[in-house]
């Protein structure tokens, strides 16, 4: 049963550097061999100033950038062993480049318990707001997770 008192709770900010190599690694794992993701030189040859962010690179921000993410979910009473991913949404607000230092703040924005045929499940929405080293808001990531009881 989801504890509604944690709705609105924000966790302490986390900071990390956007790494060119992590963008390349993600593209390769997805099986995307577009050379713009492989090196700064290739990206520049295609007209970019540096390796662009992969559309789903923000997922590496939450897992690699926020090493405390799992512990934060546990502290909010969420059983991380029973999580299914329901939805993921990004708003790309301003350019993000390799070398940028981003700071993210995760907030639990919604949560409810639903009764289904196979028992109850909690549906929890989190949002991460990212700003760069100049304090400019660059990205908003929204995630819905489903925790089966």
């Amino acid at each position: 049963m989801f504890d509604k008192s944690v709705i609105g709770k924000s966790f302490p900010p986390f900071s990390f550097e956007v790494e060119r190599g992590k963008i390349r690694e993600l593209a390769l794992a997805i099986g995307d061999d577009n050379p713009i993701y492989s090196s700064k030189e290739e990206a520049q040859a295609a007209g970019y100033d540096d390796v662009p962010l992969y559309p789903t690179s923000p997922t590496t921000f939450t897992f690699w950038g926020n090493r405390k993410m799992i512990g934060q979910l546990v502290s909010a009473g969420i059983n991380v062993m029973r999580i299914l991913h329901g939805e993921e949404e990004y708003e790309y607000l301003a350019p993000i480049h390799p070398g940028d230092i981003l700071t993210g703040v995760t907030t639990i924005v919604d949560g409810k318990t639903r009764q289904g045929q196979s028992g109850s499940m909690d549906i929890i929405t989190t949002e991460v707001q990212y700003a760069n080293q100049q304090g400019i808001a660059v990205l908003k990531a929204r995630q819905v997770i489903i925790v089966r009881e």
Binding site: A29, E87, E88, E89, A94, V144
Partner: protein, 149 residues
């Protein structure tokens, strides 16, 4: 406000019409090795994506792919179509589990075209489905496109 001066144009606003289909992307079959690579690239080491014993324990029928890998496939579709720097919003809902050897095809359609403050935007719906037509993820995107001058 989010113009990235150093990003090449793949498609112009005038060249896109509502109802246009995005060139489809057929991915190679999902392999165990790909999921191991994806785990490392993304930082999501949940063993249900790499260890078949976990899948048997919790009844997912063997290893299942990371939902975010499937969103990554759809990201490749959009990266190929408008380029990563043009994306302003991208979100999906996960609708089914992807298993090893599934062949995922990503498709999309333009649903809207509009101008705000002199800038052109397109919006569309996207999805990823397997060889049987079972939808694994569906969602929407918004991209900013330059005008032909």
């Amino acid at each position: 406000m989010t113009t990235d001066a150093q990003a090449p144009t793949k498609v112009y606003y005038e060249d896109v019409q509502v109802g246009d289909e995005i060139p489809k992307l057929v991915k190679a079959p999902v392999t165990h090795l790909q999921l191991v690579r994806y785990a490392g690239a993304s930082g999501d080491f949940n063993p249900l994506h790499t260890d078949s014993r976990i899948g048997e324990l919790i009844g997912t029928g063997g290893i299942i792919a990371h939902g975010m890998l499937i969103m990554g496939f759809v990201g490749q579709l959009l990266s190929d179509y408008v380029g990563p720097a043009a994306l302003r919003k991208f979100g999906v809902r996960f609708r089914g589990m992807t298993h090893l050897e599934d062949v995922i095809t990503c498709t999309g359609t333009i649903t809207e075209k509009y101008e705000t403050d002199g800038r052109g935007y397109i919006a569309g719906k996207v999805q990823a489905a397997d060889q049987n037509g079972d939808v694994k993820a569906s969602g929407t995107f918004v991209a900013a496109l330059p005008h032909r001058s």
